[in-house]
Subunit: 159 residues, 2 copies
DNA sequence: GGAATTTTTGCATATTAATGCAAAATTGTT
DNA sequence: AACAATTTTGCATTAATATGCAAAAATTCC
């Protein structure tokens, strides 16, 4: 049969256009195109096309043609790198982990220091949050450890 | 049960590591972790996680967590890319860095928005913390940028 | 063309997945 | 803590999907 290839083609376009949720519905639509096959064949077709059924946000199932790449972003987890404290007001320590900087201060000092860091409007930083004695700073992706160290040396002792 | 979210996480990691092909096998593996649920529950879990079964190159079926580009495409076809207007109040910006999301708001709005995000109880999120104008959200390991973007589009404009 | 070989299909059925419903567990409220 | 409201789950069953096998088509080879 020369039909199989055409049918597979048609199935793809039907699945992309309509919201098909099961193989019987698909068979029905194919029939309206003059193609008459059983559910068993469609099961094989969908397997060949790697079509899968997935839940939509509406709570119903629809067929999609998934990407063939298995995505796995692995988290970069660098070890902590501690730096001895100096005599900056309230400063206790600064540590890096991945793209996060954690600054510890004596109690009550964190908000003030965080404010200063915020006000620098550094493009290296996408956000800071301060508790009473801890500041979390999220660095922009791609910022190197050295860049960060250089920047933070404006605020705290970094040797 | 507080177990559900843990189970969902475990399911994700099991599916990514092993080649699971049906819900009974999954149940069996979960049982080896001390988690005992029925196939019915797993069907619901997989629906919630948008896990789908797809033919591998070996000719067998395995579960995967599909690429969200495809999902978004099919969502867009269904015309569901609207953002509830009430949930944009005070929003300023959203940025990603590694597994951290930083949302900036106008002063005072962060706690409310963070609360809404918390209440969504997304399995993608490990935790959130809010200051006055900034929210930090830590994503679960393995959550792709696309997945995250899709999720946060429920809360803030992402275009 | 015709026999041999490979591919595709339907049938019947086994396997797998989804769901209505009531009960149990959890969460929210006061 | 007690009650109400919501969520989660299992059971039982239905719905949907996959597949062994034999037959029908298509393809290849002489």
């Amino acid at each position: 049969m020369r039909n199989r290839r055409n049918r597979l083609q048609l199935i793809i376009s039907i699945i992309k256009k309509n919201n098909i949720g099961n193989q019987n519905d698909l068979a029905r639509i194919l029939r309206s195109y003059g193609i008459d096959v059983t559910q068993a064949t469609l099961s094989r077709d969908l397997k060949a096309l790697k079509v899968t059924k997935v839940a939509s946000d509406k709570g119903e199932y629809i067929y999609i043609i998934p990407d063939n790449n298995e995505l796995q972003d692995s988290m970069l987890q660098r070890g902590m790198h501690s730096i001895p404290s100096g005599q900056q007001a309230g400063f206790v320590s600064i540590n890096f982990s991945g793209n996060i900087v954690v600054i510890k201060t004596r109690n009550g000092y964190a908000p003030g220091l965080a404010y200063d860091i915020d006000m620098s409007k550094s493009p290296l930083i996408i956000g800071t949050i301060a508790g009473a004695d801890t500041i979390f700073i999220v660095l922009k992706e791609g910022v190197s450890r050295d860049e960060a160290i250089h920047f933070f040396s404006r605020f705290v002792p970094m040797d």
